[in-house]
Symmetry: C2
Subunit: 205 residues, 2 copies
Amino acid sequence: MNTKQRIMDEALTLFSEKGYANVFVGDIAERVGIKAPSLYKHYKNKQAIFDAIIEEMNRRFEEKAGMLHIAGNDARKDAVIYQDMSEESMIQLGISLFKYYLHDDYTKRFRKMLTIEQFHDKELASVYMKQYYDDPLSYQGMLLGMLVAQGILQTENVQVMTLHFYAPIYMLLTVCDREPEREEEAIQILTAHFRQFDRIYGRTK
Amino acid sequence: MNTKQRIMDEALTLFSEKGYANVFVGDIAERVGIKAPSLYKHYKNKQAIFDAIIEEMNRRFEEKAGMLHIAGNDARKDAVIYQDMSEESMIQLGISLFKYYLHDDYTKRFRKMLTIEQFHDKELASVYMKQYYDDPLSYQGMLLGMLVAQGILQTENVQVMTLHFYAPIYMLLTVCDREPEREEEAIQILTAHFRQFDRIYGRTK
DNA sequence: GTCTATAAGAAGATAGAC
DNA sequence: GTCTATCTTCTTATAGAC
């Protein structure tokens, strides 16, 4: 891996743990295995490293087109998958995805960094919102809407139904970010949530 | 208001906007209307101001005994209130409480500060968790559990039901913290949420 | 308790050799 | 591209007069 990339990677790790202001250029350099002044051959200044991280992340996010996208690409296809899936399989899929977003190294570090820095910069708040609110609700709304259209689920308000599906997932994700030792507990609750959601909105098994 | 108190208050404002590391002792002093060195007659150092804020907040939290406590004191009493309340009144009450927690000056600044600083200090993460996860779920679980016992609501799993009630409130609160201009939208969604919650869990009107 | 002056020490960034 | 040496600036905190 080239040095420029490694600087960005180590900087992300440190920023996500301590926040921008508490990370010193020397800390980043040390992790990369060079001295601070060498770093300035790769980036104009400290802010440029941060900006590069944001850009890289936006690039990756567009590739993935939003978070918690179930299969990840196309809600139409995913709805077909869901339709033929048992409740148990759906729960397992939901938990796998939860664990992926919780543990995936890049996703996790970036989410933590955004959480810490979101109030410093309005743009970061927008990025966070898109990733963890608008995109998931929009995608999952489309998915659940199709299941409703097919009569697999029943509701008068797909938007609120989607909120009921996603809000607990979101909240448990932030719980585990803060207190990772509560992951097992969160998984238990998540499982019960999926089961009850299915029951409430009338899934046929 | 005495100077010591005012220092704490202005410091909280600044910490909640910029985070601890980005606030300088001189900034706090300026807001209070004194010079930085004078501030050291009231607090040993910058950290002591932060610690005093945490202590003050713990004091206030214990007074209030947790967030989103509906009427605020006793779930047993509150359940009686709910029992005799129309759906519309309940929605109005829910929204009022949401707005209170969103706008109350102290609550809001403290929540933002905790959000920014939560990864710097494990203890802050715990404070956040208690305030915005454990206490609300515990209190509201008790409340909803009583309504279930009285046959006003129906469910097999009160814990998940409480999650379905609270998680959307929590998520919308964090949305408005990030993008205050979305408050009206959040209130709309919140209203629909309360209405649908009532329908799902079978409230009698 | 507040001030001015100032010490002490970070931390970001540059110069210039290799 | 990396290093050592160094500059500059910013920030915390203290000293001591009023």
